[in-house]
Symmetry: C2
Subunit: 133 residues, 2 copies
DNA sequence: ATAGGGCTTCCAGTCACTGGAAGGTCAAGA
DNA sequence: TCTTGACCTTCCAGTGACTGGAAGCCCTAT
């Protein structure tokens, strides 16, 4: 299977697949013409990677997860540890963004947004307060 | 004022302040010895930048906001437009992360996480389903 | 005089791609 | 058979917003 078919099947762009080969996440065969030749297993692994990335796992985590995926004698506790760590990061990011959103929404709410120069948003940015930041 | 004092006062690391000068966000004077010499206005602008960044505005947005901040005849509508655009981005990011969290939390919840190899997390990543992704 | 800390510049690295250039390969149609 | 256009290849550079580190100048205190 050529790269564009593998891309189609996995949902990853060809560029990304080449990059993943570059960093040794996948190792497709090569045809006599030098073209990459993806097996079903390769495509399956790419799909696994696509989904892991879609859940926000770092490439490093993906590497670990893929190794665990291929190790039929893994301990599921290992997997859960990686996933829980990532889950905590996501929760933290959501908390950060929510605080940002609240502060910003407050500023936006206070600004009438017309042709006059008075602007609580700029005042808030220039003089503290307006939430905790 | 030397750079480390400006850093102290603004809350930005010296490296970041140099970077901001590099990309023309601030233009501190120079002393005879070549050292940067930050005026109160410079420090004030750096503080403005630190707060804008803390609210997640991109450097590009910060540049616009800083220009509006310095333009005493701006229309507050301009500012509000930038802020609302950014607010929408934050909301979108929160929505993405929340969907990720829910899908991942579901997988984590299903995994007993012990020494056995059976792992719903890996199965979920390998075979679709498990939320929508 | 020297030791230390702070200042300067410049280069490289981060993360995970992404765009683009230059060139080889393949299948279909004239 | 030739050509066209869509593939494929590699390699290099750029993204955003810093950050680390090296090499070297400057200032103050002892």
């Amino acid at each position: 299977m050529n790269i564009s078919d593998a891309a189609q099947a996995s949902g990853l762009p060809p560029k990304t697949i080449r990059y993943y080969e570059d960093i040794d996440l996948v190792k497709p065969d090569r045809g006599a013409n030098g073209y990459r030749d993806f097996s079903d297993v390769d495509v399956h692994n790419l799909t696994f990677l696509a989904r892991s990335r879609a859940l926000g796992f770092s490439i490093d985590d993906c590497r670990k997860l893929l190794a665990l995926y291929q190790d039929k004698s893994r301990a599921s506790g290992e997997v859960k540890k990686v996933a829980e760590g990532h889950l905590a990061e996501i929760e933290a990011k959501i908390a950060d963004l929510t605080a940002m959103r609240d502060a910003l929404a407050h500023l936006v709410h206070c600004c009438h947004g017309d042709d006059r120069p008075e602007c609580p948003i700029l005042e808030g940015l220039g003089t503290r307060r307006a939430g905790q930041m």
